[in-house]
Symmetry: C2
């Protein structure tokens, strides 16, 4: 690794997954981690293992699979687990990540006055002691330890130098400087990083990292300002997801360094042609949409996507284009499948767009593919992605949809009949009227499933061109009673209700709605079962903010 190499530390699965309603299943996390590895990130922060058995299991699966090199055609990333500066958190993180070839423990403690005083209730001296002790403990388990002084951008710089020196002496290999609340301006952040480099003994022996939030729309600029000051790791998420306004976008930093190579003169391990695919995967699994005017990955980000005169374009394409769509993986040749395409063609195409499925999963997808091909003349990559997501990566189904019948319109009362199958194979049927077909169908589902909840969000998108498109539905639910414990932030002391995202796809959008609703309910029911029978007995401290 040269001085000109910038490491990409991806925290989509940790800080990104803390977005409201993003809660991913372990299978979804694993698939995203595989995609991130293919994209070429250097470190994957896979989660916060001490949060719950579910989170522990998710990180461990990634360490065992993506963290191991055998047979892969890309560099194996480091697998990182987050831990508060507590012995028990560090132990749990280590257990989860140790199957990986390059495990890393990331621990943190706040250093700003407001956080130390109101949140931690610790004196600066106590913070310094705890950092030294816990970094050393983490280092006794794991050769690679990252330490973050939480809320660094609002901390006293002199105190920060002192804490960072202690962390280095205790064995930290990476120091990460977060602007936890997204408050800094680029000039301030540049000055902060330059000051740390100038004033922290031993800083040249460790990797210096930056971690920014986008509350004022400055996360990318602050991250680049940190790099210019000498930082050589960036902490980012795909699509910039994360709590509040989110984290620095992976794609913006990767493409700024690529497009303005002459200015920054830095290298990265990112294969930019994977960006579009990973972006879509993350959006679909988290249910967090990407606005069309989002830089790099928004649907409109590239100027001349459709209806252009190719020769005019070729003649002077840099008049309005500073990046080529091919560079981020758009406009790759698309083999269109149809009703006569066989199982092999399907498998080949799924492989090309990045899905490595088990034989059984492939059989399920092939069946759905045939059903869809009967309804729709051409099957595009987007259709395939919707099929895979709908079929393979869903939570364990406690209730599944067995039949739906709906009538609606302006001329009568919207009515739905729902037939569900439970885990024991028992069939339940209910009919309801509602304000519309979705309301009617959801009420019928509620009569069967009996989980009181509030629908927080509900959106439908057609994934493919044309009126006969597959509709994709995402929902977000919040349980109404106390069956699922609220999330309490160990920092702020605030509690939040948990919410659950659901996803469904079908050419009939009402069917897609019911599938999405059931998928959200199944996640909620799974979480309730985890809560009721916690295997490791660890407390669930949910929200971590860096």
């Amino acid at each position: 690794m040269t001085d000109q190499y910038v490491r990409f530390f991806d925290t989509t699965l940790r800080d990104g997954e803390q977005s409201p309603g993003a809660s991913l299943t372990s299978a979804e996390k694993l698939e995203i981690a595989r995609a991130l590895a293919r994209l070429g990130v250097d470190v994957i922060e896979a989660g916060f293992p001490a949060a719950s058995p579910d989170d522990f299991h998710g990180v461990q699966r990634i360490a065992q699979d993506v963290g191991i090199s055998k047979g892969k055609d890309y560099t194996t990333p480091s697998i990182c687990g987050l831990a508060r500066a507590l012995r028990s958190d560090i132990d749990t993180a280590w257990e989860a990540i140790k199957p990986a070839e390059k495990p890393c423990i990331h621990t943190f403690l706040a250093t700003s006055v407001v956080h130390m005083e109101y949140k931690l209730g610790l004196t600066p001296e106590e913070v310094v002691d705890q950092v030294g002790e816990m970094v050393a403990y983490a280092r006794s388990l794991c050769a690679d330890v990252e330490f973050s002084p939480e809320d660094a951008a609002r901390s006293d710089p002199e105190f920060l130098y002192q804490v960072l020196e202690v962390a280095i002496k205790a064995g930290a290999t990476t120091l990460n400087i977060p602007d936890t609340v997204g408050y800094a301006t680029p000039e301030e952040f540049n000055t902060l990083i330059a000051g740390i480099i100038a004033n922290t003994p031993g800083i040249n022996d460790v990797v210096l990292s930056v971690h920014c939030h986008d509350d004022l729309g400055l996360a990318s600029a602050n991250t680049l300002a940190g790099i210019r000051a000498g930082a050589r790791q960036v902490e980012v998420t795909m699509n910039g997801i994360g709590e509040r306004a989110g984290n620095t976008s992976l794609e913006e930093i990767a493409m700024a360094l690529y497009t303005r190579q002459s200015i920054y003169q830095l290298e990265t391990g990112i294969d930019t042609t994977q960006i579009s695919r990973v972006s879509k995967l993350v959006s679909n699994y988290t249910g967090i949409p990407i606005q069309p005017n989002k830089a790099i990955v928004g649907e409109n980000a590239f100027a001349h996507e459709a209806g252009i005169h190719q020769d005019g374009m070729l003649k002077h394409n840099n008049t309005y284009e500073i990046m080529r769509p091919e560079t981020v993986g758009l406009r790759q040749s698309r083999l269109i499948l149809g009703k006569h395409s066989g199982r092999h063609a399907l498998q080949v195409r799924l492989g090309e767009i990045g899905y490595s499925l088990e034989q059984e999963e492939l059989s399920d997808i092939f069946k759905s593919f045939k059903v869809l091909a009967d309804k729709k003349k051409t099957i595009t990559d987007a259709d395939l992605e919707a099929l895979v997501e709908d079929q393979v990566y869903r939570a364990e189904e406690i209730f599944s949809l067995d039949g739906l019948q709906v009538s609606c319109g302006t001329m009568g009362l919207p009515t739905a009949t729902v037939r569900l199958c439970d885990r024991d194979g028992e069939i339940h049927i209910q009919a309801c009227v509602g304000t519309g077909p979705v309301d009617a169908a959801f009420k019928a589902v509620d009569l069967i499933v009996q989980v009181s909840n509030t629908l927080l969000e509900f959106s439908i998108n057609a994934v493919t061109e044309g009126i006969d498109a597959i509709g994709e539905v995402t929902v977000r639910l919040e349980p109404k009673n106390g069956s699922i414990p609220e999330r309490t932030s160990p920092q702020s002391g605030l509690t939040h209700k948990r919410s659950f995202g659901g996803y469904g796809a079908d050419t009939d959008i009402i069917v897609a709605c019911v599938k999405a609703y059931l998928s959200g309910l199944n996640k909620l029911l799974n979480a309730r079962e985890y809560t009721q029978a916690s295997e490791l007995g660890v407390k669930r401290p949910e929200k971590i903010k860096l």
Copy 2:
């Protein structure tokens, strides 16, 4: 106006409206302009009057209404019209804006080598001459003239100083520096603006403005870098909409200057408490969604929106919060209406959330309100906004929905029957089967309306909490045959097909879908009629890029 005042030049209705599918009706443009004036922007770029009679009319209506002060409780903004550096464009712009109390002509010509050579086919000398001549001509009509050297960020600085000096001598009152392709870094842009101030004779007698694009995610940082170098006008759009990755976000600059007042020490005329409302209005009318992690206006942008313990929050709310939601107009007291609310209560509430409706419009809304209140227990502000948008601000209806009947589900063939009423009051009925209920209904509509088109986008959102929510549907259509002329960019020479957005709202989402589809088709049919009977006989040069 002091040296510390930063003018906000809003181009949501010009550069923002050039986003694919954003095409707004004149009534929608007027309503957005009113909201922008209430928000406190200094200049509203209302459109490009030479583009079409439709665009001319839209700008003129804004000049006649928002541009006049009588009886308003906010400062009247300047109303600006865009014109290429051509006598005919300048004449048309002047005709459109001259009813305003503070009219402004904005003209531009490219100054980068790639644009002058490949696009304009002009020598640098010819560019200098044309700038001097056309700025002087604009100034002979209008006391306030803004000039932009297109693609300034990629222009030779020495040449730029020369062109700007000529523009000042010819009478320009504002010089605007665009990073047309979103290529600059903050350091480069700061250097560019500082260089212009240091090297352009007469620059201190005019307003210096910056106009950035977000292709690398740096628009806000570049704009702030320009301000720090001495620029005192920012060109922005609400929600950062615009072509490709869009323009600088109004809300990000306003809130960065507000939140970091101690650093920037600048004043603006923006009433930040209007931000949320205007943001939602623009998103609804353009059909361009806002991602939940968008800074300031995203649904998740504020940390602790729901389910929090208020006293914990009050005790140390700046632990994680650098802005209060109230500052951008969130969490204002919401008077919830219900089925017993009268016409007066409705009118008062509509006024409070910013709608000033004619009596006839109010009567229509009240009828819909009563219908909705029968279906839904409580009516929130979001419901009211959806009602207003659905009822009042739609294109002239060439076909309207008179009845719809749908059956679908997993157990039969999705079937829809549609009854439409045309302008002459004639009733048309058709039934169709489809891959789903929306497909079936749209096919039935197509049998009646007979306009061949492709559905480019299709999305549904529930606007209010709970399953009985109103569903809002937005669609984007592209005509298939040549009945609508393609848009040819005068700069790049590229042609694009036009597309048309449609919006519909109903508690029955299939009804909302059909309303949205009809609204898009009506816009398309209106545009075809405009094309066939152009009143002013001006050519339609569509895409302007600054």
